[in-house]
């Protein structure tokens, strides 16, 4: 592969072009393989497509660019703390709109850090919530009959189903 380029261009599933630096792309295993296999140089016109929609890809790239410096070199503890705070801010996003797209994208791009972060964020939204609150947050439709609900309740003592 050529390591001369600093940034590569990728296409989103919507067909939009995005630039991502090589060091940031390395956070994703499939992208890293692509880097090693495909010739990326200035006169190369091959543009790989990433099956992630534009809106999500923007966020994923933002995450990669932020995390790349730390992933590529050991940084100090205080930087780690700062990054954590950044992560929390980064994850303040609309559930319905984008959180799960990010989760899927992180899964697809094998990005463990982002994946854990998105799972954690989704779980945090459920913590301390009642069943009906969770249904409301995630727009889940209750398709149980009341008998079925009662049966579930009996099967799980010690767990409040309110």
């Amino acid at each position: 592969m050529s390591s001369s380029v600093e940034a590569i261009t990728v296409l989103s599933s919507d067909g939009d072009e995005f630039k991502i630096t090589v060091s940031a792309a390395k956070l994703s295993k499939p992208l890293n393989w692509m880097l090693e296999d495909v010739c990326f140089s200035d006169d190369c016109d091959e543009v790989p497509t990433i099956e992630v929609n534009s809106k999500t890809l923007v966020k994923v790239i933002e995450y990669c660019e932020k995390h790349a410096p730390r992933a590529n070199s050991g940084a100090s503890d205080s930087d780690a703390e700062e990054l954590k705070k950044w992560d929390i801010e980064f994850m303040k996003m609309d559930v319905k709109d984008i959180l799960f797209h990010i989760l899927m994208a992180a899964n697809y791009l094998h990005m463990e850090g982002l994946y854990d972060l998105a799972c954690q964020t989704a779980a945090d939204l459920m913590k301390g919530m009642t069943v009906s609150q969770i249904r409301k947050i995630f727009h889940i439709k209750n398709d149980f009959s009341s008998e079925e609900q009662e049966q579930l309740r009996r099967q799980h003592p010690g767990c409040s189903f309110d």
Partner: protein, 493 residues
């Protein structure tokens, strides 16, 4: 970049296109593995509760690879966790109801364990003393061991909710100390184990842990010398040892060629002996000064030494001996570290509590770094509250020349709790003026110190690469004290 040829890229699976306009319930369209990972992060009661969200979610929790079973949450119904006062009163109806459910708690957990149907990676159980008394803990452990669990944390609460008393206290000592009666070798097969608020009087449960167990965390554990010694002798594969607020013993003696991280918090000790050639990181926080300390390692590169815990002075006055100060440990290294120790040759980072306004502590610091040959990172945390400032003493001013350590080695310096006193400023000036290799100086202080910041920024720097970074704390001194209590290296995840 790999010369051996890259692994063949697997055909990237096309992500499922999540529809959003017509069906807003996106989460239910995620594949099972992803949903499981999400609910794995919840405590068991919450994770089970997702079963009633809709049919899509029914029974998903049974494939959790992590179980987080929290007694408090299982016994207090969700609606009542908001009202802990009523629960605190043993005569209240709520309290009595909780006493009854404590007695059923053991069965509740067993019935859940039976329903759970996959292997476990990790499990965390918090429970009440009642479960220790009735030996339920051992039964649960049998269940989770059957699921090939690798990482376990067991925590016993101080008292039984509802009665607000610890039912173990009523037992005669012989019985109290023998519970829970962990059978011989029960912890074998585990990679990591955390025990909180237990009593250990035999090391037999740890038989068979020789190779596999890598991490052992004991918090608030009442353990005697013989048992601790037995455990440490037996578990030679341990890479991480963490003892926090444990009591009942006086000496720690470790002979372990695999140990990498040793963390000791809030302990009263006569002697610390560690022969661990691979020991890399040592953390000592609020240790009531051992009379003898011998640490031998060929790889030690970080020392953390803290003494600012609010609990420290209380403990020290009970025992009648002072808390080991970071400056003493470093300055008196010859006394503390033993003759065979050569850690100075490998040490590259120290993180310490130090009051720069105290000249004696500064002298110790200088004594220490004057002999370090590889020190690159120096992190100092100043006391959260400085009671009185000493008279201005041109101590750092009088350091006519800087030691090699400052001039040729130090790359990163961090000063937490900078208050802008003259002494602190002089120290920074000394470092910035002389440090030719300095890359970054981080100063963590309160807001509203423009004058002091300006003063630091005007110092002429010896290193062309230097960045001086100011970070502002938004919390007050009390919260800072609180934060300083929790400087952990090892925590159970």
């Amino acid at each position: 970049m790999s010369e051996t040829g890259s692994p063949p890229p697997p055909p990237p699976t096309r992500p499922i296109q999540l529809a959003s306009a017509e069906n807003p319930d996106i989460i239910s369209q995620l594949p099972d593995e992803l949903l499981c990972l999400i609910i794995c992060q919840l405590s068991l009661d919450e994770s089970v509760r997702t079963s009633v969200l809709s049919k899509r979610w029914r029974g998903l929790w049974r494939f959790n690879t992590h179980l987080e079973i929290i007694g408090n949450r299982m016994i207090l119904p969700l609606a009542q966790t908001q009202n802990p006062e009523e629960a605190m009163d043993p005569r209240s109806t709520l309290s009595r109801a909780m006493s009854r459910s404590i007695k059923r708690y053991g069965q509740t957990i067993c019935s859940i364990m039976v329903r759970h149907s996959s292997d476990l990676h990790s499990c965390r159980i918090t429970h009440f003393p009642y479960s220790v008394r009735s030996e339920e803990v051992v039964t649960w452990f049998g269940y989770i061991k059957g699921k090939n669990v690798k990482n376990v944390s067991l925590e016993c609460s101080f008292s039984d909710i509802g009665t607000n008393q610890n039912c173990l206290q009523q037992l005669p000592p012989a019985e109290r100390f023998s519970k829970p009666n962990f059978p011989t070798g029960i912890f074998s097969g585990l990679c990591s184990l955390q025990l909180i608020y237990y009593t250990l009087r035999t090391s037999k449960p740890f038989e068979g842990c020789e190779n596999l167990m890598k991490t052992l965390i004991l918090k608030g554990v009442n353990i005697d010398d013989e048992t601790l010694d037995g455990i440490l002798k037996n578990c030679v594969g341990l890479e991480n040892i963490c003892l926090v607020e444990c009591y009942g013993f006086r000496n720690i003696e470790i002979h372990n060629p695999n140990l990498k991280v040793l963390q000791l918090n809030t302990l009263v000790l006569e002697e610390i002996v560690a022969f661990a050639e691979k020991l890399e990181v040592l953390l000592l926080d609020t240790i009531i000064s051992p009379n003898r300390m011998k640490i031998y390692s060929l790889s030690l590169w970080v020392i953390h030494c803290y003494d600012q815990s609010t609990f420290g002075p209380m403990l020290a006055s009970t025992v009648g001996r002072p808390v080991l100060q970071a400056s003493h440990l470093l300055g008196g290294y010859q006394r503390y570290w033993g003759e065979r120790s050569n850690f100075l040759q490998t040490l590259s980072k120290i993180s310490i509590d130090l009051d720069l306004n105290d000249i004696r502590q500064c002298v110790h610091l200088i004594c220490f770094y004057s002999v370090c040959t590889r020190l690159e990172t120096l992190e100092i945390t100043l006391p959260a509250i400085i009671e009185r400032l000493n008279k201005v003493n041109p101590f750092w001013e009088n350091q006519r020349y800087a030691y090699d350590c400052v001039e040729k080695q130090l790359k990163f310096v961090s000063l937490r709790g900078f208050k802008g006193s003259d002494q602190e400023f002089q120290f920074l000036r000394h470092i910035i003026r002389n440090g030719k290799k300095l890359e970054k100086v981080t100063i963590i202080c309160c807001q509203g110190m423009e004058f002091e910041i300006e003063r630091v920024l005007t110092v002429k720097n010896a290193s062309p690469e230097l960045r001086i970074v100011f970070k502002f704390q938004t919390h007050d001194a009390d919260q800072e004290l609180q934060e300083l209590q929790e400087r952990n290296l090892l925590s159970y995840k």
